[in-house]
């Protein structure tokens, strides 16, 4: 049983199986989407501790949702939804007046807000892509797999992977066009 060759729906089905199946399926899902979810969490808040809290809670809730027989067709989309809701709750619960420490000032001065915001938009938009484009984009951009590795994973040619990747970027930029224009002002 090679989990790397399984699609998301097969992994979700496996998450409802035996303890060993659950563990292995969760590890695989985690390895596929953890980086992307972490980046998304990091875009929501600049508090590093809070980023880790949101990140961990997102996966815990995802795991529990599967155990409660929730229907999931789009894992990255579902993970984003959970993270977004947890992030909103965290921000709502935060104090209105936050003490500004020297550390905070130093860190914030280096942040490129425009880039961070665009990153958040990209991460939000990825889930809207069709799976054949979304998966290739995530594996190449976030998991760092090269075209050959992605091709062997899906059993398609490298040329096909390149085309899918370029198309995914074109689609994302088309979707983000109004925001990118706005950010450029």
């Amino acid at each position: 049983m090679n989990l790397k060759e399984m699609n998301d729906l097969e992994l979700v089905a496996l998450l409802k199986g035996s303890k060993q199946d659950k563990d292995e399926a969760f590890r695989e899902i985690y390895s596929r989407y953890s980086k992307m979810v972490h980046a998304y969490c990091a875009c929501m808040t600049y508090d590093r501790d809070q980023v880790e809290e949101i990140f961990q809670e997102t996966f815990v809730r995802f795991y529990k949702s599967i155990q409660n027989n929730s229907r999931i067709n789009n894992i990255p989309g579902y993970l984003h939804t959970i993270a977004r809701n947890i992030g909103k709750n965290h921000n709502r619960d935060r104090k209105l007046n936050t003490e500004i420490t020297e550390n905070t000032l130093t860190e914030d001065s280096r942040i490129d807000y425009d880039n961070r915001e665009l990153m958040e938009l990209i991460l939000n938009t990825v889930e809207l892509l069709e799976p054949m484009y979304r998966d290739v984009f995530i594996l190449h951009e976030f998991e760092g797999l090269n075209y050959g590795e992605i091709a062997s994973r899906y059993g398609i040619s490298q040329g096909n992977v390149k085309i899918r990747y370029l198309r995914s970027k074109q689609k994302l930029i088309k979707l983000l066009n109004p925001y990118i224009k706005d950010l450029s002002k």
Binding site: K22, D23, F26, R27, Y30, S31, S34, K35, M36, H38, A39, A42, C43, E52, F55, Q56, F59, V60, Y63, D112, D114, N115, R116, L118, M119, I122, E141, F142, K162, Y165, L166, K169, Q170, L172, I173, L176, N177, I180, K181, L183, S184
Partner: protein, 407 residues
């Protein structure tokens, strides 16, 4: 037509940004960019998109503690394979050469001093040379006994057990007192032996006169290495009867170790058990290049791990308990430098809490037919499980010891 050209331009700028566009096609792409405002806008958007992804790569990295904490809270074990990437990078990302440099220099200086001292007190070379010749002598005597047995088998005068030794070597033999003593102990017929020697080894006629010092009593010549035009005298000091260390297969080791935790430990052990940082072991020589062995070590490992405590609170634990580790190892000797034998060693073992792997190298210095000193460095890693999660502790050590070869 215009749309097709624009589409071609779009594709080209995406390929260009990915480094996939053929260089001959680049002038066309830049020409289209220069002449088409919409393409330039798309190019700007693409640059901004890529810049955002590139500048925020650090956000993708999940901290180790966060990952472990997540898996711990779900009760899912993190497999060693899952942590492989971190293990692969651990040495280069966390290893501080400056920190261990003083220890490495100390180890090297100690090794050089030890070697110099051992060279000063070491025995002259003739001892090992004589031992090698002694070994050869035993082989030759066995051969002669065998030949004699064959010769006498026709007359049914030799016991069957003598035929067991077969050494396919032809020798030149000259009867000496020690051979006669052998014959006496075996109760053989001297006349038969002398006759058969003359008949089998006619080369004796070609050997020039040989002079023998009074305290040597044996002459054995290997025919394959013999130059008939020169006199050949090989002697064995009869006082030296211990076989060479090279011919012994079994050895015992007693040693000590100085360890440094990686990363440095933040706490000291609560107590040190008896024989702490000592080891005893046994090794068996498979051939000139490989030895296998087993050892028992008393040692400590600095452990830092996290998990949920009894109240479900995330907790980081630090401890440095005493362990007794049992290991099986393989030692490899790539080159033979006389009395110096550099080696590489790896071992796998276990103790009360987990598995221990070691790898390292060093040098053995032979000081006699039974004794050798060793000094080396090793890197040890202990893998252990807590709350269904795997962790590891590493340390660097300088070890030294004495080996006693018994047979």
């Amino acid at each position: 037509m215009k749309e097709e050209i624009e589409m071609e331009g779009y594709n080209q700028i995406y390929e260009f940004m990915e480094g996939l566009l053929d260089p001959p096609a680049e002038p066309d792409m830049f020409y289209m960019l220069a002449s088409n405002e919409e393409l330039r806008s798309e190019f700007r958007r693409l640059v901004k998109f890529d810049k955002s992804l590139h500048n925020n790569r650090n956000l993708l990295e999940v901290p180790d503690g966060s990952q472990k904490s997540l898996f711990a809270s779900l009760g899912i074990p993190l497999t060693p394979e899952h942590d492989k990437e971190k293990e692969k990078n651990f040495f280069w990302t966390n290893f501080n050469f400056k920190k261990v440099l003083p220890f490495v220099i100390t180890a090297l200086a100690s090794s050089i001093l030890t070697i110099l001292l051992l060279m000063l007190v070491g025995k002259p070379d003739y001892a090992s040379e004589n031992s090698k010749q002694m070994q050869k002598y035993y082989q030759e005597v066995s051969f002669l006994k065998n030949e004699l047995a064959k010769k006498n088998s026709n007359t049914n005068q030799v016991p069957a057990v003598v035929r067991d030794t077969v050494i396919k070597k032809q020798v030149v033999y000259k009867t000496t007192p020690i051979i006669q003593r052998q014959e006496q102990s075996n109760q053989l017929n001297y006349n038969t032996l002398a006759a058969s020697n003359t008949e089998l080894y006619d080369y004796t006629k070609k050997i020039p006169a040989i002079s023998i010092p009074g305290n040597f009593n044996r002459i054995v010549v290997d025919n394959s290495q013999f130059n008939f035009s020169q006199p050949l005298i090989l002697f064995q000091n009869e006082n030296d009867t211990d076989p060479a260390i090279d011919s012994k297969r079994l050895e015992f080791i007693l040693g000590g170790t100085q360890y440094w935790s990686l990363p440095a430990s933040t706490i000291t052990p609560k107590e040190f058990g008896a024989f702490m940082n000592m080891q005893i072991g046994v090794r068996y020589r498979l051939n000139n290049a490989f030895k296998v062995g087993a050892d028992i070590r008393r040692e400590t490992f600095f452990q830092k791990f996290n998990g949920l405590d009894g109240l479900g609170q995330y907790t980081v634990y630090e401890q440095q308990p005493n362990f007794t580790t049992y290991s099986l190892g393989l030692q490899y000797y790539p080159v033979d430098m006389g009395n110096f034998h550099p080696y590489l060693v790896t071992s796998l073992g276990g103790n009360a809490v987990g598995y221990v792997w070691r790898g390292g190298g060093g040098i053995t210095y032979i000081v006699g037919n039974s004794i050798a000193f060793e000094i080396g460095v090793d890197y040890s890693t202990m893998y252990y499980n807590f709350d269904q999660n795997w962790f590891n502790s590493s340390k660097l050590g300088i070890n030294y010891g004495i080996s006693y070869y018994i047979r």
